[in-house]
């Protein structure tokens, strides 16, 4: 019944190979783009078919073994796919948003010389993400895990002439690789722990079953889950390893939309969801996840306040929203986390694509006026709502959604998280405060962005002012669909308290339910507290919007005065709390110094020194002996007599 599951990742792979090999020859953009989008759309259809079949099916977990991969002795790892409600949701998100973004990038990437290369990488990314999501055992997931890392490296470094692009690509891959180091350590320790209990497996289903072998709350399970969490922070850009995401904006905008907003960065959240059985058993790790998530949410929001590059703001908002998801995972609200993941995918993708269409328009105008201003800088935008009405409307809708205004998707998912962070047995009121503050700041900087780009008078250069066209339909259609989803998306998960059936939560019940009961994690508190908290969070959001409106629409000089008074604070926030410089100082440069020291110092001087030293000693010895043959007769005579004296002397005494 689910035998065609393997088709889902297979289609994008075929598309990628086809474009990779023949793309250069076809040259026709429509054909390349068409094939790429078609392939992702096909996999979307198969995914939808499986999703709805699973919806109706009673048996929720289906495994499909394709072939045996590694079999040594009693270790048996094979290529296997796993479909359960969690992965069903994820494949719908990935393929759905993926198709829209592929359609969008046909128009957006028009005229690029590496057109075929772009679509080849995008399809390869889709394949890797689907492998990650559908992976039946940890190793197949790891293939997808590193595969998406590879594709993000390729796509960020798409404009490889630009030095900044290739450095950003390197940074992204290496930071991901550090995360993968954590994932690998967790994987190996888990495998060793289970194997020592006699269970030889990496298969998720078996891991879940034999989870009880490891005593819950123990050191072992905490170490395993912490390592996995390190992997998640690397991939989903949380506190320690988030520096690569803002630099990843070097890549084309569809890339940022697909990879750095909707799909790849959510891999960490998905992984925690996939292994919720283990995580639920380690309260210490859950608490660290919650704290890191909350801190990241708050911390990234502060940086987002002061950025001027439209994509940087969105990047930091993504980091902050991911902080929310991890907060949800940390406090045990697994289904809420995944729900926020889904809604975030919709409105963040719409925001990124909207910003892309703005940049596309400005780029077109500057190109037309032969200017070289930065199309991404918000300071020379403004008043574009008349020029790009559709982009404006969809952008506005998504901004409202992300700010958590009721009736929009963001509100339902974010509020659920905030409630759980307060009410859950694993939650803490401090986490709720962090979340709420971050929500306020999110509302502020999102509307600051909207007001600076679409409202106020037009600050673009005079010559290019009236050449900003509305983007072609291939760009606006995905925007509209995503805008719609941003609004509608929330209704499938309306919480019980607001009278909704919360079908999303029940749909994910079989995946998370067991772990929650076993470790009796639940959010409890009276309805009253829930309502008050909801009201407070909405109030904070509205206040944020009002401040933004005052500062950027009513009296545009206010921000300048603000910056004047808080120059130090502004400079710190603007320079991303100097995190990058800190990492360079603490990790990158010492590594280089150690490397050079080891090479110049140790390798060349010490080891080679020893080797050449022995050679030199032997040569010296040889030279020394040479002098004994001086050629003078009496030297030899003396030598002879000495010899005689010594020998006889030896015998006599």
């Amino acid at each position: 019944m689910y035998s065609n599951l393997w088709l889902i990742p297979f289609f994008p792979l075929v598309g990628s190979i086809f474009n990779g090999l023949f793309g250069k020859r076809i040259k026709n953009e429509a054909v390349i783009g068409g094939i790429a989008t078609g392939m992702v759309f096909l996999s979307f259809l198969v995914a939808a078919q499986n999703f709805f079949k699973l919806l109706g099916d009673t048996e929720k977990v289906h495994e499909l073994v394709i072939a045996s991969w590694i079999s040594i002795g009693n270790l048996q790892i094979n290529w296997e796919l796993l479909l359960d409600p969690l992965s069903a949701v994820m494949i719908m998100v990935v393929t759905g948003v993926g198709t829209l973004i592929h359609l969008y990038s046909i128009g957006y990437m028009h005229g690029e010389e590496g057109y075929y290369r772009f679509f080849c990488y995008m399809n390869l990314f889709a394949f890797a993400m689907l492998m990650l999501v559908l992976g039946g055992n940890a190793l197949v997931m790891f293939i997808g895990w590193e595969g998406v890392g590879l594709c993000s490296y390729l796509l960020i470094g798409y404009y490889y002439e630009k030095k900044s692009a290739s450095t950003a690509a390197n940074k992204a891959f290496i930071v991901n690789r550090i995360g993968d180091f954590g994932f690998l350590c967790g994987l190996l320790t888990l495998f060793w722990a289970l194997a020592s209990k006699g269970v030889w497996t990496l298969n998720f289903v078996k891991i879940a079953e034999s989870g009880h072998l490891l005593e819950s709350g123990g050191l072992l399970i905490t170490v395993v889950t912490l390592c996995f969490f390190l992997g998640a922070t690397g991939k989903s850009a949380q506190i320690p390893l988030f520096t690569w995401l803002p630099d990843a904006m070097e890549g084309p905008t569809p890339v940022s939309a697909l990879i750095h907003a909707a799909t790849m960065v959510t891999a960490g959240v998905y992984m925690i969801g996939r292994m919720n059985g283990l995580f639920a058993m380690a309260p210490a790790t859950m608490m660290t996840i919650a704290i890191v998530g909350g801190l990241t949410a708050f911390f990234a929001a502060t940086i987002g306040l002061a950025q001027n590059d439209i994509k940087r703001v969105l990047a930091y908002s993504t980091v902050s929203q991911l902080g929310y998801m991890f907060l949800a995972m940390g406090v045990g609200a697994f289904s809420a986390g995944i729900f926020h993941l889904m809604t975030h995918a919709f409105f963040k993708a719409c925001l990124f694509l909207g910003s892309g269409s703005v940049i596309h328009g400005l780029h077109h105008a500057y190109h037309h006026a032969h200017l070289h201003d930065d199309p991404q800088d918000m300071r020379n935008m403004g008043g574009l709502r008349k020029k790009m009405p559709i982009t404006f409307i969809t952008f506005l809708v998504s901004t409202i959604a992300i700010s958590g205004i009721p009736l929009f998707s963001g509100f339902f998912s974010k509020d659920e998280i905030l409630w759980w962070s307060f009410g859950s047995t694993r939650g803490h009121w401090m986490l709720w405060v962090l979340g709420a503050a971050a929500a306020g700041m999110t509302a502020f900087y999102m509307f600051r962005l909207v007001f600076m780009t679409f409202f106020g008078e037009q600050k673009t250069d005079a010559r290019a002012k009236d050449h900003i066209p509305e983007s072609p339909f291939t760009i606006t259609i995905p925007l509209m669909v995503l805008g719609l989803l941003a609004v509608v998306g929330g209704y499938i998960g309306v919480p019980a308290i607001l009278g909704g059936a919360n079908r999303f939560h029940h749909f994910l019940e079989p995946v998370f339910g067991h772990a929650l009961e076993l470790n009796h994690i639940a959010a409890h508190g009276t309805h009253a507290t829930e309502y008050t908290l909801m009201a407070i969070s909405v109030a904070i959001a509205i206040v944020g919007i009002f401040i933004a409106w005052v500062m950027y629409v009513k009296d545009p000089e206010l921000p300048a005065k603000f910056v004047g008074r808080f120059t130090a604070a502004h400079r710190v926030i603007f320079n991303k709390w100097y995190i990058d410089e800190l990492y360079d100082f603490v990790f990158v440069n010492p590594c280089k110094k150690i490397g050079t020291f080891l090479w110049r110092g140790f390798d060349v001087r010490v080891v080679d020194g020893v080797v050449n030293g022995t050679a030199w000693v032997i040569k010296g010895l040889g030279a020394g002996l040479r002098y004994t043959q001086s050629g003078y007769l009496y030297n030899y005579a003396v030598a002879m007599v000495v010899g005689v004296v010594v020998i006889i002397g030896f015998y006599v005494f």
């Binding site: 250069k24 072939a67 045996s68 991969w69 590694i70 079999s71 040594i72 002795g73 009693n74 270790l75 190793l139 790891f142 293939i143 895990w145 590193e146 595969g147 590879l150 490296y153 470094g157 490889y160 002439e161 030095k163 692009a165 290739s166 450095t167 690509a169 390197n170 891959f173 290496i174 690789r177 550090i178 993968d180 180091f181 690998l184 350590c185 190996l188 320790t189 495998f191 060793w192 194997a195 020592s196 209990k197 006699g198 269970v199 030889w200 078996k206 079953e209 034999s210 072998l213 590594c591 280089k592 150690i594 490397g595 050079t596 080891l598 090479w599 390798d603 080891v607 080679d608 080797v611």
Partner: protein, 525 residues
Amino acid sequence: MADYLLSIMTFFPLLGILVLLFIPRDNGGLLKGFTLAVSLITFAISLPLAFDNVFTTSGGMHYREFYEWINIGNFFQMNYNLGVDGISLWLVMLTTFITPITILSTWNAVDKNVKGFMAMLLLLETGMLGAFISLDLFLFYIFWELMLIPMYFLIGIWGGKNRIYAAVKFFIYTAVGSLLMLVAIIFVYYFAVQSGVPMNGFGIEELYKLDLPYNAQFWLFLAFGFSFAIKVPMFPLHTWLPDAHTEAPTAGSVILAAVLLKMGTYGYIRFAMPMFPEALPTFIPFLAFLSVVGIIYGSLVAMMQDDIKKLVAYSSVAHLGFVMLGIFALNMQGFAGGMIQMINHGISTGALFLIVGFLYERRHTRLITEFGGVATKMPIFATIFMIITFSSIGLPGTNGFVGEFLALMGAFHSSLRWYAVFATSGVILAAIYMLWVYQRVMFGKVTNPENEKLKDLSLREIVIMLPLLLFVFWIGIYPNTFFSKMNPAMEQMLEHMGQGKVAVVEMHQPTDAGSHAPVKKHGHN
């Protein structure tokens, strides 16, 4: 025919050299064509080995050949004793597979006395094949020394600037090691004869059955281990490798990296570890420490190189660190990981050296600063270089990952757990230096005017790279073709070492998953 296969395969290149001598010196094309033909025929001869699935069933030696060679009463006896089993099978295939590629790659790289060059390559192939299939310790020693000579000439005559220093250093380094081994071999034989064990020759089977006292095993393992450690190269003894590689011609350094380095690890598996199992527990922690240091040290130093070939040389120090870690884990996963990583290293590092060779042929320089923006000029080259870079980093789905993952898993299971954690950091360092060099060479704008006129890979060069790419993905996606032939031999080897009173971590599959299977027997240290 089957029972002479090994001898024919080994000595066919020698026959090739003989005929080669008659070809006129100035007719370069014919020389190269003929040598290529000889190496391809050798590959064809060795193919039945790969497809014969006797290896999947029994782990013992197959294609045995046994003739008495030198027999001086009971004082000294040595016989021509050949055989191949699961462990040496794929190394033999790797040798016969890499040599035609190397010859094809030096089509117009070498112009002065091509005949000598080709003769050296074929002699090298005979040496390597002989070493992998000889079961008599002394015969192994003869082939082991035979390999050094052509390599010395390859580096010494056709090398780079200070090739003499590199060639001499390479030769003395290895010779010192092998002399120690010779002493050990003689001592083993003398000890066996003296303790009344009827020894007819240096055959491995008899030597395995020998029960030497502990301190004898200790010193013998030290002697063998030291000689193989130089060849691997393990951490403190590795300085000959970067010099040898930077000075060697492309073909020389490809073969040096692809096969010669495996001699060391093969030596450990075939001779040092099974013959002296009791000495293992005392040496394993130390050697594992050295291999982990090798991984981290190799990667860190590779990061700071300004010469691509030296970078790749140090990276192979790191890769072989993984191999050794896997082998010293003394369990199935570790062994399999070590074995497959040997072959992966042969493929990915061999390919890397070919790539550096292509760049060197075009620009006659290996300094990274000289390049930049090559991707714009050579797109096909860029894609191939990228695939090989990711295979050498060990991206899942490529061959590197399978080897490294299994080696780490094996190490995790054995008593080397903490070593494995540090070794995993090598995964990060590998990504750093490989991507950094890839970025500095390929990406960015074309700054150096000479890079303008770089032309992309010719058909010949693509044909060289295709088989390597094929194996990169084949081992990555379906390594069972290789593992199925290795498993029985490895099980047998581990059992043998297990009996050597070393408490190997036995994994016993529980009858039913749920029950609490008896906790595993820990290594006794």
